[in-house]
Structures are given as C-alpha cells and as structure tokens.
C-alpha cells in the first residue's frame, strides 16, 4: 500500500524562488477613489440605490441587492475599529520576499457613513489600547501618490469606546 520510506535514504530538497511582477488594473471605481484621495485628501464611497448601504472599497455592484452602483458619497476620515490586533509574529511578506517588520497595529476600520470596513495600520502597538470600539482618525499624507499608502495609518482618538 502506497509508499514506504526507505530507511537511511534521505530525500533532497530543490529550492525555487518564485519572482513575479504584476501590473494590476485598479479599475474604474477604485481609480476614482484614489484620485479623490490624491487630489483632495478625501475619502469616498459608493451608495447602493437599492439598500442604501455605502461601500468602501467602491465596487461596480452591490452583492446583496445586485444593483449597479452609480452614486458617490463623501466619507468621514474618522471611524471606529470593528476588528483590531497587534501583529507580533514575524512572517515573510509576499510583496518583498523578506520579513515584514513587526510589531504593528492593524484594524478593520469602519469610517463614519460607511457600511463596510477597510483594513489598515493602527498607529499603536500596545494591545490594551488597540481594541474594537476605539475611535480612529486617518493620518493622511500631505504628498500623495493615489494609493492606500496615502493614508499612513489610523491614529487612536481620545474618548470613550463606542
């Protein structure tokens, strides 16, 4: 039945480094978002004409109602953490092939006015502070490229949890 390893016979390993470069299309909806961010430092979402949910990231269709999205709405640069952690375990970043520096705070941020959350860094590495319910504010660069890194991170705001 199957394969029996032969005692005393070691298998060897063959290394292979996969290196690829992709040029992803940002798409019509996300390009609009990043253009607004770059030109005006503004965050925007799309509203479903059916259920009125406001989505970020913007997208062509509301998966719940299956209505095409046509309306852009402004979003606040403040919001609340709906998921929160501090990454301590080092790991290989697939974008560089090297270890990503840790620790770093990360969260799912629901911006005021939005129905959905986005992933981003949180400017804090104390686990007792990076918690669900904390209010946060986007820390937006003054020199912007038109990508998610135009938001450096989200800063914890003072005040009570939601």
């Amino acid at each position: 039945m199957g394969i029996k390893p032969i005692a005393g016979e070691e298998s060897i390993r063959v290394p292979f480094l996969m290196k690829m470069e992709f040029e992803y299309a940002v798409g019509v909806y996300a390009t609009h978002f990043f253009q607004e961010l770059k030109d005006h430092g503004r965050l925007t979402g799309v509203r479903c004409p059916g259920c009125r949910r406001v989505y970020i990231p913007p997208r062509p269709v509301c998966g719940i109602c299956f209505e095409p999205m046509t309306e852009w709405v402004p979003l606040s640069d403040e919001g609340v953490l709906v998921g929160a952690t501090v990454i301590r375990l080092p790991f290989v970043d697939p974008m560089t092939g090297k270890q990503r520096p840790v620790p770093y705070g990360m969260g799912i941020i629901r911006l005021d006015g939005a129905a959905t959350g986005i992933f981003h860094f949180v400017d804090e590495t104390d686990e007792t502070k990076v918690r669900v319910g904390r209010r946060v504010k986007a820390n937006i660069r003054t020199e912007r490229q038109g990508n998610l890194q135009d938001i450096i991170n989200f800063r914890l705001m003072d005040g009570p949890h939601e």
Binding site: G2, R88, D93, V132
Partner: protein, 387 residues
C-alpha cells in the same frame, strides 16, 4: 435523473509538519492508495477523480497535472477545484453533484497540501486584495486575531474559554492516529502561557501548518450498497459565499453570514430543528480556538454570546451532548487543501463507526462545516440512512 450519494471509503496520510521523504505526487498517492484499500477497489473501477488544493502553497499552476501518476488520473475524467480553505469541502460537494446527477457512479475525491514545500504565511497574505488589503494583511494569524477581537467584543468570551477549546482539540487529537499534533497532556495554563502571536491569539490557539492528503470514495446508491454495508450518506449539502472584501461583513466572526446561511440550509434540507439535540457529532473547520467558540453560535448550537458557556459545561467534549471535532480538528491538523475534506472524512468515519479510539458512540447524524476564502462556508449533513 438524480440519485442518492454515499461516502463509501476514506484514506488519509499521517499528517505532520514536514514530510521530508516524499514529494507532492507521492504524498497524494499514500492517501489515495489507503482509500482504495479501504474500499477494496481497483483504480480502474473509478469513473472520475475530483481533486482540490491551493496552488500557491506548492508554487504550481496545475500541481495535480504534474502529480497525475500519484492519484490515478491517467486518461480519466478529472476536475480541479480551488476555493481556498473550503476547497476540500467544495471538492466533496462537486463530487456529490456529479454522482447525484448520474454522470458518474464511482468518484474519488482528493485533497492535499504540502505546506512545507512553500511559505504558508506569505502565500496566505497573497490572499489579500492587492490594492486594498495585501500591504496590511498578516496571513492567517492576522485574519484570525482580527476576527477574534470582534467576537470577544460581541460575546465577552474569555481567554480561559478559548484555552479550553485548545485543550479539548489536542486531547481528542491524541486519540487520532492520523492527527498532526498529539498533545494528550496539554493544560489550559500551557495555552494561556504560550507566545502571543497577535492579540488575542496565542501560539496554542492556532492550528499548525501541516503536510497531508486525504481521499474519499463517493458512490451512487446502487453501487454504494454493493460495496459496503457501513455507509455515510450525504443527506444535504449547501455552500454560501460572501461579498468581495474582507471588511465587508459587519461582524465577521461574531456573525458569520455565510456559515449561518449554509448551516441553516442543510438543517432545513435534513429536517433538523434543534441541532444540539439532533446532531450526534460535528466536524467543523476551526483554524483558531476563538473560531470554534463563535461557530457554536453561528451553527445554532447555542444562543448568541453563549459559545464560551458551552465549553465551560463540557457540552462539546467527547463525553458531552454534542462532541465537536473528536478528530482533534483543524487545531491538530491543517494541510489546507485537505483540511475541509478531512472534516468530511472524519464525520463519515463517525457515521460508519470506523473512527477507532476517537469514535463517539451511536452516531447516526453528523454535521460538517468548512471555512475559507472570505469567510465562506460549506455544510453537509451525513447520516447512516439514505432518507
């Protein structure tokens, strides 16, 4: 036409962190050979093979075509499925539909992953949407710690309760000869003192990364009855997927929209009204301790916020009212492309009464659920009778 479908046989490798002695083709072959031996079947009696895995973990496009000599696909019809963590269940579901349709009568399913050939956290981080998620994401650990944080905020579940799940899983797994982790002496204290990977997730709260493969034989009603008298019938299956982005679900783990939809659908199809009372065993896909607590609630085993109380009361232990993961679950064994199919195979072993040292007594009805992708889920009800 449509016909009833039964799981007739299963085969697994001994799952482990690094299989240094075999390549992917040879790893798969072990599981398939064991399944055929369990079924007392020759490969040339198999109509088709349904095979699933997650290619980026092996760094292959079409790893199944490279390894075809290992799983008997030569000149047979085969279908390759990839839905991420759920793929073992999605592949089983595909096999179910192919057999139920009457297109094939005798179908082999295969799930495999050789994580040690690649870098799992990196491949997992590449799940992140490139513009919106990838630069922030931190593999499975990052995902589960964020999900757990939401669940804790909603339910008030405690570190001790999570640690009890870790202990239950590792004690169960110690009785399963195929499980990767065997930790019969693990204590709640050990779990709570293990390294903090990303709050609230500690090392012993997480599943391991494993190398392993699993295979099952699914047959139509008439063939199945000829082949074996101990069958696990697929009474119901359902799949539910999600919206596109990881932040779309308002309370990801606390309210798992897809898992609720999939499980409610199979309960309805199988006529189950009170899962805690009517199910005899469940094999669920819990990559982290917190996930299992949340899934108790999402699968309707208890009221919202009561997941922790269920483990406190021992309801889901081997001796409890509804044993969950007698196999040791994902917390003991996680060869990703195989993991969800191992859930199905382990539930089938329970229904067939062939689970050995981790057998739950008098199992007639079992629930299987998977997790993967963007909080996607599949669910199955297995039963010892076709209707």
């Amino acid at each position: 036409m449509s016909q009833k479908v039964a799981i007739v046989a299963t085969g697994q490798t001994k799952h482990t962190s690094k299989r240094k002695d075999v390549n992917v083709r040879e790893l798969i072959n072990e599981a398939v050979s064991r399944c055929l031996a369990d079924a007392d079947l020759r490969m040339d009696q198999v109509d088709a093979v349904l095979i699933g895995n997650m290619e980026p973990f092996e760094g292959f496009m079409f790893p199944e075509l490279w390894s075809i000599e290992g799983w008997g696909g030569y000149l047979k019809p085969s279908v390759k499925i990839n839905t991420g963590g759920t793929v073992g269940a999605a592949t089983t579901a595909a096999a179910y539909y192919y057999v139920a349709s009457g297109i094939y009568d005798t179908v082999l399913t295969v799930g495999f992953e050789k994580q040690s050939d690649g870098n799992s956290q990196a491949a997992m981080t590449a799940i992140g949407e490139p513009m919106w998620e990838r630069s922030v994401m931190a593999g499975a650990i990052g995902n589960w710690s964020m999900m757990a944080s939401t669940y804790i905020a909603e339910s008030g579940a405690t570190m001790e309760q999570a640690a009890k799940i870790a202990v239950k899983a590792r004690h169960n797994g110690a009785r399963n000869p195929f499980a990767h982790l065997h930790m019969p002496d693990l204590t709640v204290d050990d779990v709570m003192k293990s390294d903090l990977l990303a709050w609230p997730v500690r090392r012993l709260d997480m599943c391991p990364t494993s190398d392993g493969a699993v295979s099952m034989l699914l047959c139509g009603e008439s063939v199945a009855k000829r082949r074996s008298s101990r069958l696990a019938w697929i009474r119901a299956t359902a799949t539910a997927h999600e919206q596109q982005y990881m932040g779309d679900s308002p309370k990801r783990l606390a309210v798992m929209r897809a898992q609720i939809a999939a499980s409610q659908r199979v309960y309805k199809m199988a006529g189950i009204k009170n899962p805690l009372k009517e199910l005899d065993v469940a094999e669920i896909y819990e990559p982290a301790t917190w996930a299992e607590l949340a899934m108790y609630e999402n699968l309707g085993f208890c009221e919202r916020g009561q997941g922790g109380k269920l483990i406190d009361a021992g309801v889901t232990t081997m001796e409890g009212e509804l044993p969950v993961n007698p196999s040791g679950g994902v917390l003991c064994t996680n060869p990703i492309g195989a993991t969800a199919m191992i859930r199905v195979a382990e539930a089938a072993l329970q229904v067939m009464g062939k689970a050995g040292a981790h057998q739950v007594s008098n199992v007639r009805t079992a629930l299987v659920c998977s997790y993967g992708g963007n909080a996607w889920s599949d669910a199955f009800i297995l039963s010892d009778s076709p209707s």
